[in-house]
Amino acid sequence: MLEKALSGSKSYWSWVFFLLAVVGVGFVCYLIQYREGLRLTGLSRDVSWGLYIAQLTFLVGVAASAVMLVLPYYLHDTKEFGRITILGEFLAVPAMIMCGLFVVVDLGKPMRMLNIALYPTPNAILFWDFVVLQCYMGLNILIGFTVLSAERKWIKPPAWIMPFIYISIPFAVSIHTVTAFLYAGMPGRHLWLTAIMAARFLSSAFAAGPALLIILALIIRKATRFDPGREAIQKLSLIVTYALIINMFFLSLEFYTAYYSGIPGHQHSLGYLFFGQHGYNALVPWMWASVIMAIGSILVMLFPRNRKNESVLAVTCAVIFIALWIDKGLGLIVGGFIPNPLEQYREYSPTGLEIMITLAIWAVGALILTVLYKIAVGVKEETGGELAPH
């Protein structure tokens, strides 16, 4: 099936080569960072995690969102999703690979990264993050290719794949819960020290991931002969709407606890992000943009007439994706470090090199996604998009 990625139209190849060019430039930037050290980034003694780890956090959520197709289809027989579970699984794979790459470029000594496997530390949540992310990536590769090749041969997927599919459902929840636990267990970081962290992570994941899936499905319908199905897209849009509402509700809960309790420690980071503190307010416009975009999108998505209009839907999903990226991929991580444990405000902004390396890793993800989708769509075009009866 891999040969399906080696033949394509001119636009396919232009896109692939554009991505390769971005990857190439970013790779050179990484070599420079590898030689000079992470001092070339905007990271500092006070804000020791920034753009790279924030991308990891956001992308784990995107990867987990494959479960939003798998769960309804395999557990509740939502037939519309049958044609496109592969799109969810093949989105999870590049998302996980990007997560791994973001960790590697963030490490001070990447040549020692296998120490996590050589010296397993069960009390360290990062160890479990490593384990669970590897397992979930393996699961999705296995499930994706097995189901796809069965589809190609017009037969049911083999019975042995079913336990893996069922287990991928709690695994999807677990990868994002474990990632949330990285933050929720830090005693000195009050923005993150909330029981609701994992719930917030999951709700924003289940809004951002399916929003991206909708956009990708619409692109596939336009660019190929495979139609993911109007009904599937509509059902996904409903999931996005509910998840986004829940996510904004959870955010408001944070504000309530912080401000009604009156405890300054709980307010400082949230205040820095949304209102600025002591003149430090670099992230304020970003956070408000995120909130306004999200609430605006909710208002649009509430009306079925808007969801049914696929142009409006596409634009709204893009806005939702960006809004949630700002919330998780920028605000949450950086905000946790400001103010620092000594109540000092030291801000962070990424350097050009850091941004270029980030873009390059996104390009790697986009490339792998393109290749995998090309294969999946190629198979579906061959079989006419019909699944064997099961």
């Binding site: 000079e36 050290g37 992470l38 001092r39 990271l43 500092s44 003694r45 006070d46 020791s48 995690w49 960790v103 963030d106 490490l107 001070g108 000594k109 990447p110 020692r112 990264m113 120490n115 996590i116 050589l118 010296y119 397993p120 530390t121 009390n123 360290a124 949540i125 990062l126 160890f127 490593f130 990285l182 267990g185 830090m186 005693p187 000195g188 970081r189 946790g336 470090f337 620092n340 444990p341 000594l342 109540e343 000092q344 030291r346």
Partner: protein, 269 residues
Amino acid sequence: MGADRRKFLKLAGLGVLGLGAARPAQAGIFPYPNFPKFPWERERAKTNDSALTAKRWAMVVDTTKRPGRDAWAEAIAACNKIHNVPQVGNVKEEVKWIWTEPFANALPDHEQAYLPEGVESREFPVLCNHCDNPPCVRVCPTKATFKRASDGIVLMDFHRCIGCRFCMAACPYGSRSFNWGDPRRYLDMDHINREYPTRAKGVVEKCNFCAERLARGQLPACVEACQDGALIFGDLEDPSSEVRKILKTRYTIRRKPSLGTGPGVYYII
């Protein structure tokens, strides 16, 4: 033909995996636990006869003895010198093992509007608290930072650290620094302490309670530099130690005690 090729590739892949796993198992590459591997090796390693030992090392900082500006400069300089701490010179990438902060930053939980004038203007030395329940140790994925069982000092294994900086996020006191670049560019290599290594780019470092000096029977450099006894160092679990004697007679506070970390640095205000 297609099915045979697939089978061959699957078998070949499994074979490579199997070979790959056999060698590490053979060579004993998984070195956990690290030392000593064989019973007869245990006699090979011993402590110095002059080593200072304790069940749990702790420190008391008598800030009343140092009311002035730059009051702790010699203690800080002593630490920086003997540990080859790089002087980076900017807030973004600085590396500091012990430094001073005003009261509101060092002890924010005790901050209030009406402090005695002396306390308001005093400088408070802050360093790693060598907690009893250290969150940094809890989160380290490789046990590169660990609490030594013999004496409770929280140490760094610079050989194992992967530079993930999770410990820096976990520390509620901001005690840890990262080497964002090669620290040797910020050291005068002709005038370093040659008996102690430097660190390399990409690892986290912090105060180590001068474990290497304790092993040779010397007190920590900062404690020794304060000739008036402003820093008191001793075994928290030995009722007759200096530290316990002082804790019995003077009231002390610790940084952020409600977090349950059990810090081992006590401040007399």
